[in-house]
Amino acid sequence: MAANAPTSTQVSAIPEQGTSLWQDAWIKLRKNRLALYGLAILVLLCLVSLATPWIAPYGYEEQNLGLGATAPSLQHWLGTDIFGRDMLTRIMYGGRVSLAVGFIATAVALVIGVLWGAIAGFTGGRVDALMMRIVDILYALPFMIFIVLLMVIFGRNIFLLFFAIGAVEWLTMARIVRSQVMSLRKQEFVEAAHSLGLSQWTIIRRHIIPNTLGPVIVYTTLTIPSVMLLEAFLSFLGLGIQPPQSSWGLLINYGVETMEEYPWLLIFPGIALSLTLFALNFLGDGLRDALDPRTSKD
């Protein structure tokens, strides 16, 4: 047995070309079939959303009061709502809003949260204490009041909605990143990097951030759906988007009202939203595994 054991390191004449973190990640991700499906679905949904104004079968506000709510048929594949509006069209347009809110608001939260948490965690001391107290204060502020205030001051505007949600969602992200960074900066490999003379910024870039990516990605994939639902909630209160525009969250909200009479008004937007959430979760899962620098390279 021992005789056939392969040598663990094959010494070749050419020095091994080191692969970057991202190359590694891509190689690993490609082997994760579920994550790839997730990615494909997301890309497809995004493409459909982008192309909606050209490919939608009807106008999203086109009413046909005489028709009313009808079950799926050949003319209206996903049925019509109580105003006789085509559900497929409305779901496609709703997807534009929901995906945009989901991605943009989460991106805002991600950028602010990661930077804030990393700086606080890495610097430590008084700066850390001050920054985290600010987070605590914002936490204590009921987020509804915060968003309502923003809306009242700056007026209702869909981009402000993205920003307002992002500005609320970054708090947890900052805390997660900070705690990760705090535990990382005392680890041997960081100290080793220090003693090798690497600059602070290089250490953050090469060692700290890659090591925080796992939890950050998981949290991000959780944030996107909660942001989409938050948007629906705000719109329902009259703070987000307003009819005749719609989003998946709103469609679901309206669908719930009539789920016994017209179940398709709830089921189809529900499928669209759950499909997105599943895709995001599988992709997030895959990315976390792929990006974890602690798993061995193979």
Partner: protein, 555 residues
């Protein structure tokens, strides 16, 4: 009265209630209520206030009439005046002097004696301008009340309200007012308990704590027991009430059931005896079952949109008329509302005391486009951004969405929808902070005057900034002096024609009242004002064998 019907929120609360009652107890709230005499009443929203001189809404009205009472009451079937705090009254031959003889056994809910001086003081309070009583004009039939309210008269003793002795109240009117007795059953003319009001602030201070749980003292059949914000308001039978022996209910719970769908589910789960509304899409289901729980009846209420005439582009009456002509009311009534609402082309509901408004308003897209072009917006070009404001509720949203699209189709203009919670919405409209606002008016008494005198210049419930001295003159001067009923109605017709010509409000439809009513509620006749008399209602668990007998069609 402002008609609300509003929205979402206490969903969580309601959900928790459903969960709590769903499991655990074997008996539903309605069943235990039937046994213990506790009525569970869906009341649409958290009240704006329980102060009768401040509140303006229908949900508030329901609670206040349980807690307080006026000189006269209305028979809940015929709506004829019947004795309340006054056991009898005398009207002079010229119809100007009303003398009320108050009951000796009338008491406030803390046991204090209740007498004629309470009315003089309360009405003085209601006419203090600082109180901001939007219903102050309800007092204007009383001699000198308007002059006093507007500051032309300083001395309240010159107003036509006098306590001749502790139990005799004399009221002098400006003109014979056929609906005056009906007015006395309106909460804006209810008395308030002076020591309580003064204990928590000055008489003309708004929003003091005198109406809160533990503080409020009333003279009605019930007393305020608990006020749990966004959960419920409960009232207990008042032992000091003069007619306490006849009151059969021990308690009434009022729930802020803003979400219609949730309310309907609560009803089905045995959480409510009575719902404030029925969701549009459920009506067909209940009709199909021939359910006797569904009660749809005529309702003296008008649904309309207010135009804020202080907004520049809406100050042009051509624009207002164009917008009104571009709405297909028949379609809204038949295909959006679906409960037998009648399309309205005037503000006053037809056949209000024999009054039929004349209207030249029709659904006329061509004329609407022409008027719009004349006003400077050909094919909708350059029409400024306009918002429709409504209080959060599904039915208002549906109507607004349909109208938004009709205006887009006919006039090619884009309007934005904006929804606000009931209290915020009331504030926005009262402050003129809107462009177009959904509104409704429910009769306080059965007379066309009720739907027309709100449009007086600076009337508390006008809120559109519209003002036409000719109209005021007809309502305030001519109509009250009319010799015959027919002549009076003719003046109203002229006034309403004027109103519709200027169109500060866009009439949409005449209400029907839609409720789910538990068969265990007894002695609860429907009337066109949709006003319940809580002191008469009693509960009796239906005999299960009988409950399947098919219901009456109440359409």
């Amino acid at each position: 009265m402002q008609k609300l019907i509003s929205s979402l929120l206490p969903v969580c609360t309601v959900a928790i209630c459903l969960i709590l009652s769903g499991c655990g107890m074997g008996e539903s709230r309605v069943e235990s209520g039937n046994r213990e005499g506790i009525l569970h009443w869906g009341n649409a929203t958290e009240p704006q206030s329980l102060d009768p001189h401040i509140a303006t809404g229908v949900p508030e009205h329901k609670i206040i009439t349980a807690l307080m009472e006026g000189l006269v009451l209305k028979d809940s079937t015929t709506l004829e005046p019947i004795p309340g705090v006054a056991e009898s009254w005398h009207i002079s031959d010229d119809g100007l002097i009303y003398t009320f003889y108050l009951r000796k056994n009338a008491r406030w809910s803390n046991g204090d004696p209740h007498n004629a001086h309470d009315y003089v003081w309360s009405w003085w309070r209601a006419l203090q301008p600082a109180l901001g009583n939007l219903y102050a004009y309800m007092y204007f039939p009383i001699y000198n009340a308007q002059a006093y309210y507007e500051g032309d008269l300083q001395d309240f003793t010159d107003v036509g309200v006098k306590a001749l002795d502790d139990h005799t109240l004399q009221i002098q009117l400006e003109n014979p007012t056929p609906y005056f007795l009906q007015l006395l059953d309106h909460y804006s003319l209810f008395p308030v308990h002076r020591p309580t009001v003064e204990k928590f602030g000055t008489a003309d201070e708004r929003g003091t704590r005198w109406t809160f749980e533990g503080n409020l003292v009333g003279n009605g059949a019930f007393t305020l027991n608990e006020w749990k914000i966004n959960r419920y308001i409960s009232v207990n039978k008042n032992p000091h009430y003069w007619d306490a022996e006849r009151v059969k209910l021990n308690q009434v719970y009022f729930y802020p059931t803003e979400n219609l769908t949730t309310e309907e589910r609560m009803f089905r789960a045995g959480q409510l005896h009575y719902t404030y509304e029925v969701p549009v899409d459920k009506i067909a289901v209940y009709r199909q079952k021939k359910s006797q729980e569904l009660q749809i009846s005529p309702y003296l209420g008008s649904y309309f949109y207010r135009f804020n005439t202080r907004v520049e582009h809406l100050s042009d009456k051509r624009v207002r008329r164009a917008l009104a002509m571009a709405v297909d009311r028949q379609k809204i009534a038949d295909q959006v509302l679906k409960a037998g609402q009648v399309p309205a082309y005037a503000i006053t509901p037809p056949n209000t005391m024999g009054y039929y408004p004349q209207s030249n308003l029709t659904f006329d897209p061509d004329q609407a486009r022409a008027l719009m072009a004349e006003a400077g917006y050909p094919n909708g070009q350059g029409f400024p951004k306009t918002e429709i404001l409504y209080n959060t509720q599904e039915e208002h949203r549906k109507v607004a969405v349909a109208i938004q699209q009709m205006w887009k189709d006919v006039l090619n203009i884009d309007v934005v929808l904006l929804n606000q919670e009931w209290k915020v919405y009331l504030d926005s409209v009262a402050n003129g902070d809107y462009a177009i606002a959904r509104a409704a008016w429910i009769g306080d008494y059965v007379d066309p005057n009720n739907f027309l005198d709100m449009w007086l210049c600076d009337g508390g419930n006008n809120r559109t900034g519209w003002c036409n001295p000719d109209f005021d003159q007809m309502i305030l001067e001519q109509a009250p002096k009319a010799k015959t009923h027919a002549e009076r109605l003719k003046i109203f017709t002229q006034a309403e024609t004027l109103l519709l010509e200027d169109m500060p409000a866009l009439p949409l439809y005449i209400y029907v009242s839609k409720h789910l009513v538990s068969p265990s509620i007894k002695n609860f006749p429907q009337n066109i004002l949709n006003q319940p008399s809580f002191k008469d209602i009693y509960l009796q668990a239906p005999d299960t064998a009988m409950s399947d007998i098919t219901g009456k069609e109440t359409n």
